[in-house]
Symmetry: C2
Subunit: 575 residues, 2 copies
């Protein structure tokens, strides 16, 4: 070896050791338990982590290993936690999805989630068993760029904003209602929460309201007192925002301030400026705003319901220009959101999102294209959602285990349909209630390019089609396009954006419309793809993808103690 080669080798080793020194394992011991709490001033019960609601915020750097020792301190219920937006490459068992990646963690038991955060961005985590996310089991997960890397934008400070919606009825009762015959809808949330805080009985902006709602009299130390965002004039701030809502699509605004959107679901996007922005359940964004307004005032930060007739008051907090008092109510009424059913407004926003130049481009061709029609149906008298006439019911044995070990009878072996009837009229209520329960899997060939066309349709009621934000586990996908009505092949040829489509893990399909996305099936594991509206998933609105499962090695047996995998371990023991 020449001395030059040796020097290069030494330099390389030095670099490697520097990198490894920078990369950390972030260790946490978490206990999930119920706790009395007043998210909006009305006392209820939340699923808390270490006595906190929302759960603790995790901050890490790209490449770090997250190590969460999760103990279930609930009394009779299982629990899991999904790390929303994290690829779980080489750790598909840590995806935290009951029935898919692992068995529920039983009361008293501890499960270790250990995974690498391989991409900087704004993420969150949440329960993924039954409707436990609705119980308040969620928190923020922020991944910063590596120490020697820079974000492609500048800011002076940052805030974190986790959005959710809140019911006064317990999540268990909500689950039971939705599973009842006759069907009982959970209704609209009582409150919208910002970082777990909302006001049910009062409004910060009562003085501007025509309705006789009372002015909040908050000392500021209440569990539900809004978190005030304190800023200095003439600075630029990054607001990291994620939506863990169970139902609500939201519109976010900062009164008087423009917002520049720079990140979506952990992916840089071409910055664009808006007065307000939509955010759907399962999405996350970073926006920049500059405190260039009259510094003697404070300003509203507001969230308002989109896409459903709003019966829930606006969620509010205050952008507090230092040195004003935090309690100084802004001079102006809170931002007026767009009309709830102005879908064109929403589409305009969604269509403004493009990948930042230099981002990975999609393959130009697809290997397989799935057409997924969502319909609302009645099955044996129960109200359910279905995809291509299959309403998802989760199996007892996690797919990751049953597929990896080749166990029969763990789920429907018949593959769910690739498409739906061409004659289906998406503008009319489902004409024939021929949907069935099912839990078959879309087996995706490893390392192939998959297109998905999400096709929206009329629900059971006439002239109703709802918004559905679809979330894919284990991957980002490119959003190739949106359209109205029935998707056609010409749409693909004429409208698909293959140049700078944004990468996302969640995308919305608009009423009576379609959304097209593309992803590369290169992450061995089993992955849920589902409507992120909690009651919709509970009612069957999801599908399951499996790819390269035979390549998955060393699934921790702790993840597979239930169902047929559990039985298999038992049998082997008795041999």
């Amino acid at each position: 070896m020449s001395s030059l080669a040796i020097i290069i080798l030494l330099l390389l080793l030095l670099e490697l050791s520097t990198i490894s020194a920078m990369v950390k394992t972030r260790q946490f011991k978490w206990k999930v338990e119920y706790m009395h709490w007043s998210p909006d001033g009305v006392e209820g019960v939340v699923m808390a982590i270490n006595g906190k609601f929302p759960g603790p915020t995790i901050r890490a750097r790209v490449g770090d290993t997250i190590y969460v020792e999760l103990t279930n301190n609930l009394l009779t219920e299982g629990v899991v936690i999904h790390w929303h937006g994290i690829s779980q490459r080489e750790t598909p068992w840590a995806d935290g999805t009951a029935s898919i990646s692992q068995c529920p963690i039983n009361p008293g038991e501890t499960f270790v989630y250990r995974f690498i955060v391989d991409k900087a961005g704004t993420y969150f985590y949440h329960g993924h068993y039954g409707m436990q996310r609705s119980a308040g089991l969620y928190g923020s997960l922020i991944v910063e760029v590596a120490k020697d890397e820079k974000e492609p934008f500048h800011y002076d400070g940052e805030f974190n904003l986790l959005l959710s919606d809140w019911w006064h009825k317990s999540f268990q009762d909500q689950q039971i209602d939705l599973s009842s015959m006759p069907f009982r809808w959970i209704g609209e949330p009582q409150s919208l929460l910002m970082n777990g805080r909302g006001q049910f009985n009062c409004s910060l902006a009562a003085q501007f309201s025509k309705s006789p709602i009372s002015q909040c009299k908050l000392r500021g130390d209440e569990q539900y007192a809004p978190q005030i965002f304190q800023v200095h004039p003439n600075k630029t701030y990054r607001l990291r925002v994620a939506s863990s809502t169970a139902l609500s699509s939201l519109n976010l605004a900062i009164g008087g301030h423009k917002m520049v959107v720079v990140e979506a679901d952990g992916n840089y996007i071409q910055p664009f400026s808006v007065e307000n922005m939509d955010i759907y359940s399962g999405e996350s964004y970073s926006i920049l705003f500059t405190t260039d307004q009259d510094p003697s005032n404070n300003y509203w930060i507001s969230i308002s319901v989109r896409g459903r007739e709003p019966k829930t008051p606006q969620g509010l907090t205050i952008l507090n220009y230092i040195p004003n008092f935090a309690s100084k109510i802004p001079n102006f009424p809170p931002p007026l959101p767009p009309l709830w059913n102005d879908y064109n407004y929403s589409k305009t926003f969604s269509k403004k999102i493009f990948a930042l130049m230099g981002s990975p481009k999609p393959p130009t061709r697809h290997d397989r294209r799935l057409f997924l029609l969502n319909t609302q149906n009645r099955i044996e008298g129960y109200t359910r959602w279905a995809i291509n006439n299959i309403s998802l019911v989760f199996p007892t044995t996690p797919y990751l285990g049953s597929i990896n070990y080749g166990i029969n009878n763990a789920f429907d072996t018949k593959s769910p349909p690739n498409t739906f009837s061409k004659d289906y009229d998406i503008m009319k209520p489902p004409p024939n209630p021929n949907s069935t329960y099912g839990n078959g899997v879309y087996m995706l060939k490893f390392n192939t390019t998959i297109d998905i066309i999400l096709q929206n349709a009329n629900a059971l009621a006439e002239n109703v089609s709802e918004i559905h934000p679809w979330h894919l586990h284990g991957h980002n996908f490119w959003v190739l396009g949106y359209g109205d009505g029935n998707f056609t092949t010409e749409d693909a040829e004429t409208t698909f954006n293959l140049n700078n489509p944004p990468l996302r893990n969640t995308v919305v399909v608009f009423p009576y419309g379609w959304t097209a996305l593309r992803f590369f099936a290169d992450n061995p594991g089993v992955w849920a793809f589902h409507c992120h509206i909690e009651p919709h998933l509970h009612m069957g609105m999801g599908v399951v993808f499996a790819e390269g499962v035979h390549l998955v090695k060393n699934i921790p047996s702790e993840a597979l103690t239930c169902g047929l995998t559990g039985k298999m371990f038992m049998k082997n023991k008795h041999k």
Copy 2:
């Protein structure tokens, strides 16, 4: 072999085959799921079995095998069912006690309870995981005498009456309240239920009441309409009654009718006649009554709260003399119960219970005597009950598995104390809050005679001592005596009844008093012994006995999929 011997042999074989022909396997497929229901006219949610609340009644004959395939159709919760009063001889894993005999059955999973009912009598079954019994998970289990056997009393017909109490707050919220700091008591039940039926907003006996409660206007087909007991005049009926209450001690009466008590917890007793009778949670009785009253009237059957200041209305139904209309309200007001705190009245009743002549007698000597003092304490700020300063917290791994397989660290290896300080003043609130959490086991030498002295004491509040009905799994015990104040050795010598003490599986300890019982530790397994008041057990009021566990063979691995036994099976698999 002589021809006589052959004939005898043939006769014996014939008899055996006759017996085996008479013995049946009673097979059931049960699904546990939540259901909207109005037990007392106010809609709530119950844990139902096959859509029934209370669960289906099982009727079997002595020697039959009960085979219940139990599927958990709850959404996120585990479940087990305990067969209260059944010995589970040779099937200790079928006792249905979470953390002791098995792991909770996870949602979607099926567990088979298969056991023999070896003793005729009146029993019931109920949930035994967290406070799921309070959710309404209970039903009756009646074991009839063999076809060729007769009861030691005559009756013309029989009725079944399962008693319970009901809260409008969900059992989950009750659990959370009791586990909170500061402590939140669940309060008194809203209603008393007879066969799952009560009236919250109205009374059948409103016309006799001084308070302005409204008369029930029932059509009779409501979920909460009382079940009418129809009788013919001048007949004798057997009323099988069991109490599954979560909290309430009850007094039962049939207006105008004497009751002859003939069976207690599946054991025949010396018949005695009473005007009304106490029944504590976990107890069962058979009583006979003769319809010897004016046949032109109907009569009340009533249950009333004992031992706690009653804030819950009397539970009522009607004894309907045919051919009167069922809706005919009795001429007289419902039976007036004894004063709630007239404990002498209650003691008088309990002390009337003696074993029927010919019943098994207790051993005259004991091998070991345990003194179990119950105290109410604060541990780390939480309000808990403790036995000899140990407040029971259930382990994750079922004791039956961890002891049978010799697994370390599954529970506290230190044995809990055999007795308590002689200086302890039972008349004062616990002077020093030195109780701790624990889950150690009383290891009982196999085939030895165990005495237990239950010693009651003052609770945390001054001048308060409560009733506690203690239930022993896997055994009957002889009730040797009751006394006031501190138990002394002289008490044993002078007051113990070794002649005809009743066999029971549940016995009450009165305020500031003691109760002495004796049993033979001859049933290999691990057995709970605990206060049958659901919130008291949840707050730690119980102990665990283990005997002859090494003799237990072939525990189904399905019972041990959790905790360290689960891990053990996994490890073996990887070998």
